[in-house]
């Protein structure tokens, strides 16, 4: 067997690769024992412009976008079919508190970016700190949301109270579930970061998690404007 020779990559590709390093380039392929989801072991092919993990994440975000597009379309149909919105004799949504909460969530994406920047420089402590702060902000967002939900239910807004309640709880609930999922994922990455599993060269899991986190964060203002403000 001939030893694997390094892939010949032309200069333009190297330049593009450097650019794309920002959204997560490929670490060296993991040995098969680890069962990592990288490219199959030891292939000599071209270096992809976008790593498998990042491309897969982009696909997942596309699917999630369509899921929420379906829900949002449903919401808009019902909302504009209604004669009066919000319907009379129903509790108003907590616009101010949720506005502050929106800022909290947006902040968490900033801390997430800081975490990614840190590990790109090989700064492990910065990574752990950034991820931890992100998780705290995310959890705070969820806590406030949960508290406000409980109050709304107390005021008599439930899923069965017409299209107002149904659309509110479905859309906001779907987003809330996504935050929970993203938070669990973030927790796992945080534990691995704590144990020093990532380095300046190999940190794709962090990047992919950060992408998903940003998706969930930036979805929120859209929902906030549509559901709370219009």
């Amino acid at each position: 067997m001939t030893p694997a020779s390094p892939p010949a990559v032309d200069d333009a590709a190297v330049a593009v690769d450097r650019l794309l390093a920002d959204i997560g380039r490929l670490p060296p392929p993991p040995p098969p024992e680890e069962g990592g989801e990288g490219r199959p072991w030891g292939e000599p092919e071209r270096t992809p412009l976008v790593s498998n993990a990042v491309l897969g994440m982009l696909g997942f975000m596309g699917a999630e976008t369509m899921l929420f597009a379906g829900l949002i379309a449903g919401f808009l149909v019902l909302r504009y079919a209604a004669v009066v919105w919000p319907p009379p004799f129903q509790p108003r949504l907590p616009i101010e508190v949720t506005g502050v909460n929106t800022v909290v969530l947006l902040l968490s994406s900033a801390t997430m970016i800081r975490a990614v920047r840190a590990i790109r420089r090989g700064n492990q402590a910065g990574l752990v700190g950034g991820l931890g702060l992100t998780a705290v902000l995310g959890a705070a967002f969820l806590g406030v949301q949960g508290y406000e939900w409980a109050r709304l239910v107390g005021f008599g807004l439930t899923v069965t109270s017409g299209s107002y309640g149904a659309t509110f709880y479905t859309l906001i609930g779907a987003h809330g579930l996504h935050v929970v999922g993203a938070l669990i994922w973030l927790g796992i990455v945080l534990v691995r970061a704590w144990r020093g599993r990532f380095s300046a060269r190999a940190h794709t899991p962090v990047v992919v998690c950060a992408m998903y986190w940003s998706f969930v964060v930036f979805l929120w203002p859209v929902l906030y404007v549509l559901v709370y403000l219009t």
């Binding site: 992809p48 897969g56 379906g70 319907p87």
Partner: protein, 581 residues
Amino acid sequence: MSHPTAATATVHGAHHELGFVRTYIFSTDHKMIARQFLFLGLFMMVIGGILAMLIRWQLAWPETPVPGLGWLLTETEGIIPPETYNMLFTMHATLMIFFVIMPILAGSFGNFCIPLMIGARDMAFPRLNMISFWTGAVAGVLMLAGFFVKGGHAAAGWTSYAPLSAVPTYTGTDWGQNLWCISLIVLGASSMMGAINYITTVVNMRAPGMTLFRMPLVVWSLFITAILLLLALPVLTSAAALLLFDRTLGTHWFLPAGGGEPLLWQHLFWFFGHPEVYILILPAMGIASEILPVFARKPIFGYRAMVYSMLSICFLSWIVYGHHMFVSGMDPRVGIAFVLTTMVIAVPSAIKTFNWLGTLWGGSILFTTPMLNALAFVGMFVIGGLSGIFMASTPVDIFIQDTYFIVAHIHYVVFGGSIFGAFAAIYYWFPKMFGRMLNEPLGKLHFWTTFITYNVAFFPMHILGVGGMMRRIYNPTQYEFLQNLQWWNVLITWGAFALGLAQIFFVINFFWSLFAGRRAPMNPWNATTLEWSAPSPPPHLNWGDRIPTVYHGPYEYSVPGVPEDFSPQTRPLPAGAAAHH
């Protein structure tokens, strides 16, 4: 995009033994997952087929006891009650579309063909691939569980229009419809994982020299199918979730009483539904494009036109769905827009058809079983496509919508197209998949009996439809104007029974060949694409320590200046030989 490099690969860890469970059950090998999807689809086809036979019995001899069914339908002594009939046609379509055609074409052949034909050792995410299959299997179990719950399975049609589907008392089904929703949501997750995998694999894992325009058309078709799956299924997921909430949590998404909007269901469903029909047909188109050149010993006609027409289908699929709702109440101007887009989407299909004919033109055709099935695909797809054009024009559609004309259209595209495509693929790739040859005479017997009985069973439905027979009716003899057409129903039913029986030839051939068929050589059809350069069946990781390098496009048959009539993609064309592309 690609940087061809020296194809020197060393494979570490390729030779360690995996246990039974890791090899056959929780396997991450794309070929084993392909086999699993194939068996899932074939198993579901048996169930869906039995349901179809019961539907046909009822339509030919309404409200007479089904022979041998007295033990199941005890209360009616074997007669199919109306609610049960609704369940039968609902679940027949649901199973065939979601658990037969999708697993076989997109699931099985997607998994089998993509890595092998682009020269990858496996999918980009092998473990995700395994999870995708098992999620799909769980969806299948959930779907089948619906038959055993109180109130029976979903009975609002495979389209599950609200409000019929949204209130349990309307159809009398309770957990049946709920399980229908849950199962499709789970299936959506499975399909998403598969789609992500296919897209990533095609984009990133091609062998050196395998440029996009050297990819076999079936890979193109599966790639585009994956894009549609990725973006269309989540919309069904959202719709199914809302329906489930209406049924279980008491929301009013689709119920006018609480401010809901029944038409919303139709919009969401068909926004998914039209891309879905192309999910069902595109892989079959790719399969035909693969098989026709091999057995005509000619290059495909218009390779780039084939790719571009599939890409335009991918785009247009999103803006035609309104043709399913012409009579649901829409602004005539919107209606006309949908008429026009629908007419336009027929153009790429027509381009493909002409290219298939151009491929056959002047070829020295070998009528093998895969070829016969691929030819049937082309012929039947033309009939189905033409009836589609009828319905695409509103004045005609207002007359024939919701009749057996639609049922005929569906079956010409989905059975005539997708299922013949699936059979073609099975006959063509079986040697590579299982390492043994199928029996040709038995295959031909299966093909001809299927082809003839299929047309007996489905062609007359056009006549019934134009004659006014509504789809989804329980007893056609109740309507005076249908009585003189009833003999067609009887004929169709005999055709359908014969069609069902003809599949026994396939089952025998499949299982007999699986264990006792002739050992398959590496390249039994003298084809050019990469999968035929791997052993039959290919080992784990597909190739030995070298992955193939690709030198030219996939359809170099009968190249002037080459002694053989096929030039594998791994073999450079001699200088001076005229490459086709």
